[in-house]
């Protein structure tokens, strides 16, 4: 029958954003900004909205992906400003962990994202290889959106300073 499927679904990608690391870190590492650039995003509720972001911050976030609604209770587990940001789920549709690493470059910021999830049977009969491909496709589309966001931001800032 099927080829054996790995239990864990892992995605590693890296991309460069033409923006300073301060801006990129602040934007990506705030879950409330997901709505601006993640096309699967549905809604979010920060559990303690008045508390600054950092290790221990918790929130509930909802996505739609492959015709399914996903919800996660998530926890920020690492918040090393402008360097590293880690988060993981405490409960929800499926367990996952994510790690962002940020490195300043000549053109802006290099972002590395490592993502590991255990989809289990959440996506039904869809083979994990296809889930992974579709996630990667969606992430790359989102990265393009992210780049567009920063380009537009820069453009607006340039206009403002001109």
């Amino acid at each position: 029958m099927n080829k054996p499927q790995p239990r864990e679904l892992v995605i590693d990608i890296e991309y460069e954003i033409a923006a300073p690391v301060d801006d990129v870190f602040a934007f990506i590492c705030n879950p409330e900004n997901d709505k601006h650039w993640q096309s699967s995003f549905d809604s979010i509720k920060m559990h303690n909205p008045d508390t600054p972001l950092g290790v221990g911050t918790t929130y509930t976030i909802h996505f739609r992906f492959l015709s399914r609604k996903l919800h996660f209770d998530s926890l920020i587990t690492g918040y090393d400003i402008n360097k590293r940001y880690t988060y993981e789920t405490t409960s929800g549709s499926l367990p996952f962990k994510g790690v962002f690493e940020f490195t300043p470059t000549a053109k802006g910021t290099l972002v590395k994202w490592h993502f590991a999830a255990i989809p289990g049977k959440f996506f039904g009969i869809i083979p994990k290889s296809l889930i992974k491909k579709s996630m990667e496709k969606r992430v790359w589309e989102d990265v393009e959106g992210l780049k567009r966001y920063f380009n537009e931001k820069r453009h607006i800032e340039q206009l403002a300073t001109a």
């Binding site: 099927n2 492959l66 015709s67 083979p127 579709s134 496709k137």
Partner: protein
């Protein structure tokens, strides 16, 4: 490497083909309650391993040659588990799971030893061995040798390596020599002779539908024989001069006979296979299976049977050296993957002297007596073992506290534990009965326990007792007419009558009949077309105190004449437009017009007794002459009143009547609604038989209740009926397929399945269907139903027998045929009245519901019509040229069809058309066989009966075609594969695969067959590029086996001066769907098609339209470096074509046309809301069926209720059930197809709406019932900048012949025109 025995080969084969089975795991469990040194125990095992070669071997399979291989690198290790903290129950689960863990015979030794520490600091030791290299005797040797070694080590004594001689390898060598001897061959011949002609299929009634493939998965049920019966058994065996084993085996065979009704029963038993003393100390698999055959008659007494078993066992043991696999090979039983060959029942009497002290270790009892072993204290720790080897295996031999213990091992995919508990109770009951009176007839020995009898009778007797509101059928109506005189009672397409009008008109005609024809107490024939007057006339006859005898206008004259002759008609009423029927002069004839217009004085109501005949319906008779069932008012009233009670009829019920009035379900169609204030709407004959017209009638009349046969529903669905959410259905007349029932409950309000022969008045049982297997429910009011065997003894619950019916529903019998009546209407031993012998097979299932499983005799039902095959045969034999004939039903294209096999008289000839036209004079259409096969002689069985199983399968191809036979051995070899795959014999070497039934799935199968048979490497494009036998042979000869490009398929090379057309695959990924289109396009036009690369390698499947298009664009530019480009695609393929066009344009190229064949535009609105994997799997199932012209509708919600891991298998099972994939279909390949399907489905969902400047031509399927908007969303996407071409047909049929030529013709004009033009925006034109 060492050779193996045939038995070992067989077991190895089973383990390889069913790798998850543990049926051949031999297990021994014990709890070591004393202190044990596990390290020493391990060393002891390893010491024994060194001395016994079978403990060092694995198996190998080199090109089909199976051998054992010594593996010194695999020492026996004690596998220690982390169980010290587990409770008893958890520990038991783990131990049992370990014992059932399957062996990988290629990698593992055939022996495992597991140690489980317990909470009480003891140890459970589990020894598990695979039977391929080990037997029970070997287990005894192992325990003995390990004990000895352990004690020696503990005592500090030196352990010598004492290699046992001989070893099992020596035994095999000797066995091979022995098998060559004449003595062995003689013994084999004797065994084969004893079994020749035996029935090799044991047809036990199962709780679950027998899977098509036996997975060898079983479980156990243990019980014991009470001490007093155990003593009785021994005593009886002694007095009858047989062994206890022989007596128990005999009773087991009697039980199987009583459960199956089969007289010829084969039971296998194991023999140790160690006749030679020198082999007694050798470990290995010596076991062989011997077979005993019992032949039972209706007069067999138990004592006779014991003597027969005695001689069978003695002979079998005398020839026990004859290996079972060789017997199977010689007998050649019909290949059936769902059963073990030759024997499905097994009986083992295990009494090994070596195991004397361990006896209670192998029985699931509470006896925990400990023993001393190697200085250790062992307690029994029972684990199940060797389960699932047979359908049913009874193991006995141990005796504990004076009680014989027994374990029933059974296939859990066939039987429930409840059934096995019942089986064991019946075994004990039979033992008791037969041993108390060994001279009694085995067929009447007490089988059921008192409790079981009580339970069966409680199910058999309807608890509902009703008292009818009126005593006659017309009185029920009259009562209602008084209550609701102005309500509409009946209507047809032109007329409607209120209750009062209907009553008045019927009363008038009743008066005429009474006064002019004195019909009271007589029969009145009636032949009318279907309209409101039919009901007026029927009511009139009943009101006049007569019984009506219906004759349909289209009934063959000869048959109508027989009915009129036999029914003693007082008068015959003819419709005014009936001219073909000429009643005999002795029968007065009148017309409806005459009756209506005749003036007679008003008269009092005729008094009609409930016992008077209401109607006589003639059904098929075995003599070639129909027989009339005479039904009194009391019976018809009971049926109507019972239905009014359950399920209940409401006063506003509107029933659309479609059944011919010669079919008894018409009685409830006509009289049920008007007994309750409802309305009957009568469909004319043309409407009732034409699916399109019937669909229309359902729309017009808007009925709330209908009761056609399942065949009618199938017909409606085939014509595109979508269901009716407020419609209730009562369906009867023939078996209701589960798939149809599931579809009906999805599409309609309620479905009731009912059952009943005409002789017990329309229906005698009913139930609302809510899912799962279809049953016929439970008896209706005032009715009793029994399941009896051929000796009229009640059979146990779950066991199939014949349905017998008693109660108010039982009719008077066959009019004028007292002898026939006496045969079918029997004295009722269970109560008052008579007992009707239905001839239908059935059973009471585990839920206490009745099931019907077909006919016990030569009678069948086709489309609800009851047909005596004898009747048809008798009429065929009357044709002078016919010498003999047999008519058989066969499932053809998922429908039951009649096939006539005939032998003609010497020197004469007759063709199919002549036989058919002769029969049309004598039989109704539904009784005329659809297929005719001339055979030289009728095959006969040894008993001199016609051997129906030996009749050839019919050939569905048109025999009139010119067949060009293969001209070379290669063509011949290819032809054979075509014939196998297409299941046709009449194939010409120039026939196109796709013209004679080939489609994508069959192409995959054909590819595989050709690869295997010719040992060549071809890819799946081979069947696309070479579509005739001749072309395939030529390609193979020229070495054109594998396509250069796995993605791009050349469908037509065409001419180089034409711009190619590139077609994109639909969602399934293959391009077989374009074969017919290509054939309809100008031959000079090059046509290429893209096949999804995931078809060959699932990893290559992309999940983005853009990514897919990117790959195809690269290929297109290789093939055609510059534009203008012509692109196209069906369904999903159209979306890819759209994106390919987008990417080509982005590169600065020109796209001259994108032709999308009924493609839904890629807009968000077209994405299903619930387009998850279950939806895609549902679509996949649907699309699997389409090439076969069948429907496979599995709603996504059904799939979501199934375990994820089982969903795909469920779809395949459903597909197999309707014959759209083969039993042995390549599941891996199908999974690949599904992965491509699901990837494409995901791609479609993620594709964003893109409004582009692309010249799209939409070929719109006009007859597609799915509504995705007038222009399938293209207007939303492109505004008016696209062209529409309307094509007759639905989404699927437009791509196949003959409808695809519409697209082909249009493309021929467009492709010609566009070859040299570039795209400019077009106005929307609607052609």
């Amino acid at each position: 490497m060492s050779q193996v025995t045939d038995m070992q080969k067989g077991l190895y084969y089973i383990q390889q083909t069913q790798p998850s089975t543990n049926a051949y795991n031999v297990a021994f469990g014990t709890k070591i309650t004393s202190t044990v040194c596990l390290k020493t125990l391990e060393v002891a095992f390893q010491h024994v391993q060194k001395n016994n070669v079978v403990l060092r071997q694995t198996f190998t399979d080199l090109k089909g040659e199976i051998n054992t291989l010594e593996r010194p690198d695999l020492p026996i290790k004690l596998q220690q588990h982390n169980t010290a903290n587990l409770g008893e129950e958890s520990l038991k689960l783990i131990v049992e799971a370990t014992a059932k863990s399957p062996f990988n015979l290629n990698k593992e030794l055939c022996l495992r030893v597991d140690i489980f520490p317990t909470l009480s600091q003891e140890h459970v030791m589990l020894i598990t061995a695979h039977h391929a290299n080990f037997d029970f005797w070997s287990l005894a040797l192992l325990l003995e040798q390990v004990a000895s070694a352990y004690q020696h080590i503990i005592n500090g004594q030196e352990q010598n390596e004492t290699r046992q001689t001989p070893q099992f390898t020596d035994v095999i060598t000797q066995l091979k020599t022995t098998q060559q001897t004449e003595k062995y061959q003689q013994a084999k011949a004797a065994v084969v002779a004893n079994l020749t002609g035996a029935n090799t299929q044991l047809t036990l009634s199962t709780d679950f539908i027998r899977p098509q493939v036996n997975r060898y998965q079983g479980t156990s049920f243990s019980f014991s024989i009470p001490a007093h019966i155990t003593a009785l058994i021994k005593e009886t065996a002694k007095t009858q001069n047989v062994t206890t084993y022989m007596l128990l085996l005999s009773v087991y065979q009697v039980l199987l006979h009583r459960y199956t009704g089969q007289n010829d029963i084969l039971v296998g038993s194991p023999t140790a296979g160690r006749e030679k003393r020198k082999f007694h100390q050798v470990m290995g698999n010596f076991v062989n299976t011997i077979i005993t055959r019992s032949t039972i008659t209706s007069k067999t007494h138990f004592s006779d049977m014991l003597q027969h078993t005695y001689s069978q066992v003695v002979e079998a043991i005398r020839h026990q050296a004859v290996m079972f696999p060789q017997v199977v090979e010689a007998i050649k039983p019909k290949h059936d993957k769902s059963r073990t060959p030759l024997i499905q029942a097994h009986f083992a009497w295990d009494k090994l002297p070596q195991f004397a002290q361990f006896e209670h270790f192998f029985s699931q009892t509470t006896n925990k007596k400990s023993i001393d072993w190697a200085g250790l204290t062992l307690e029994p720790y029972w684990v199940p073992q060797q389960e699932g080897q047979f359908d049913l295996a009874l193991e006995m031999g141990a005796e504990i506290d004076g009680e014989l213990t027994a374990t029933l091992k059974y296939r859990q995919d066939l039987f429930s534990a409840d059934s096995m508990a019942q089986f064991s109770d019946n075994f004990v009951q039979l033992l008791n009965s037969l041993c108390r009176n060994p001279t009694q007839n085995i067929n009447h020995a007490t089988l059921l326990t008192t409790e079981q009898t009580k339970q069966l009778l409680s199910v058999a007797h309807s608890p509902t007792i009703i008292t009818p509101r009126a005593k006659t059928v017309h009185a029920l109506f009259e009562r209602q007419a008084d209550l609701t005189p102005n309500k509409i009672a009946v209507q047809d397409i032109n007329t409607q009558l209120t209750y009062q009008e209907l009553d008045q008109q019927a009363s008038h005609i009743a008066n005429v009949l009474t006064q002019q024809y004195a019909v009271q107490g007589q029969q009145v024939g009636i032949c009318l077309h279907r309209d409101v007057n039919m009901l007026v006339s029927l009511l009139a006859i009943l009101k006049a105190g007569a019984g009506y005898v219906p004759i349909t206008p289209n009934m063959p004259i000869e048959r109508a004449n027989m009915i009129m002759e036999d029914a003693d008609l007082a008068v015959m009423i003819l419709g005014d437009d009936i001219t073909n029927l000429k009643p005999p002069h002795s029968i007065p004839t009148t017309t409806l017009n005459e009756l209506t217009n005749c003036h007679v004085k008003a008269a009092e109501h005729t008094l009609v007794a409930p016992s008077q005949t209401a109607y006589i319906i003639f059904t098929s008779g075995s003599t070639g002459r129909p027989k009339g069932v005479s039904v009194p008012h009391s019976c018809a009233v009971n049926c109507i009143e019972s239905i009014c009670h359950t399920p209940g009829i409401n006063p506003d019920e509107k029933l659309l009547a479609v059944a011919p009035f010669s079919f008894d379900i018409s009685v409830t169609e006509f009289f049920l609604p008007i007994s309750q204030g409802g309305q009957v709407m009568i469909a004319d004959t043309e409407t009732a038989t034409d699916p399109d017209k019937l669909i229309n009638a359902i729309k017009i009349f808007n009925p709330s209740l209908m009761q056609p046969t399942p065949s009618t529903w199938k017909m409606l669905y085939s014509a595109g009926w979508q269901g009716k959410k407020d419609l209730s259905i009562i369906s009867s007349g023939e078996p209701m397929p589960q798939t149809l029932a599931e579809q009906l409950i999805t599409d309609c309000a309620h479905l009731y399945t009912a059952y009943g022969p005409t002789e017990t008045t329309i229906w005698c049982s009913i139930i609302e269907y809510t899912g799962g297997p279809v049953t016929i429910g439970y008896p209706m009011a005032n009715t009793q139903m029994y399941i009896l065997d051929q000796n009229r003894e009640q059979v146990p619950q779950g066991v199939t027998g014949e349905i017998y019916i008693a109660g108010t529903c039982v009719t008077d019998g066959y009019y004028g045929k007292p002898e026939l009546t006496q045969k079918a209407y029997l004295p009722n031993p269970y109560g008052a009245g008579r007992l009707y012998k239905s001839g239908d097979l059935g059973r009471i299932n585990r839920d206490g519901l009745f099931e019907c499983s077909g006919r016990a005799d030569n009678q069948i039902k086709i489309r609800g019509f009851r047909i005596e095959l004898d009747d048809i045969e008798e009429n065929i034999r009357r044709i002078p040229q016919i010498h003999d004939t047999v008519v058989q039903p066969q499932i053809i294209n998922n429908e039951t069809a009649l096939v006539c096999y005939y032998v003609i008289n010497k020197g004469q000839s007759i063709g199919q058309k002549t036989i058919q036209s002769e029969l049309k004079q004598r039989l109704p259409n539904y009784m005329i066989p659809a297929f005719f096969v001339e055979i030289a002689v009728m095959p006969m069985t040894a008993n001199g009966k016609t051997d129906k199983k030996a009749l050839p399968k019919i050939n569905l191809t048109d025999n009139q075609r010119d067949i060009i036979a293969p001209t070379s051995p290669l063509e011949n070899a290819i032809m054979q594969q075509w014939q196998t795959v297409l299941q046709q014999t009449q194939i010409s070497i120039n026939d196109d695969f796709y013209d004679i039934g080939g489609h994508s799935l069959l192409a995959v199968k054909l590819t595989s067959k050709i690869k295997q048979t010719l040992n060549i490497d071809i890819d799946n494009q081979f069947t696309l590029n070479y579509t005739t036998v001749a072309a395939m042979a030529q390609a193979i000869e020229q070495g054109n086996l594998v396509a250069d490009n796995s993605m791009l398929v050349t469908l037509n090379k065409g001419e180089t001066d034409h711009t190619p057309l590139f077609l994109m695959h639909p969602i399934g990924g293959t391009v077989h769907c374009y074969m017919a289109l290509t054939q309809s396009i100008n031959k000079a036009q090059p046509v290429y098609a893209f096949q999804n690369p995931g078809i060959d390698d699932a990893d290559e499947a992309e999940v983005g339209i853009e990514e897919i298009a990117q790959k195809y664009v690269a290929e297109i530019r290789q093939q055609q470096p510059q534009g203008p480009y012509q692109l196209g695609g069906w369904c999903f393929g159209g979306v890819i074509a759209y994106e390919v066009a987008n990417q080509l344009q982005a590169m600065g190229e020109t796209v001259s046309g994108v032709y999308v064949f009924d493609t839904r535009a890629p807009i968000i609105a077209n994405h299903p809301d619930d387009g998850d994997d279950a939806t895609l799997l549902s679509w996949f199932a649907r699309d699997l069926a389409i090439p076969h012209g069948k429907t496979l509708h599995i709603p996504p919600e059904t799939l979501r209720k199934i375990e994820i891991d089982e969903q795909f298998a469920y779809v395949l099972d459903r597909a197999r059930a309707i014959d759209i994939i083969e039993t042995d279909a390549d599941e891996e390949k199908l999974m690949n197809y599904f992965q491509v399907y699901i990837a494409n489905g995901m791609a479609l969902q993620m594709y964003p709406e893109k409004s582009l400047n692309i010249p799209v031509t939409l070929y719109r399927a006009l007859d597609e019932p799915e509504d995705y908007g007038t222009y399938l969303g293209w207007d939303t996407l492109l505004g008016d900048a696209f062209t529409v071409v309307d094509i007759k047909g639905d989404h699927n049929t437009i791509m196949y012949k003959p409808l695809v030529t519409q697209i082909g013709n249009d493309l021929n004009t467009k492709l010609d025109n566009l070859t040299s033009t570039s795209h400019t925006e077009k106005e929307c034109t609607y052609e």
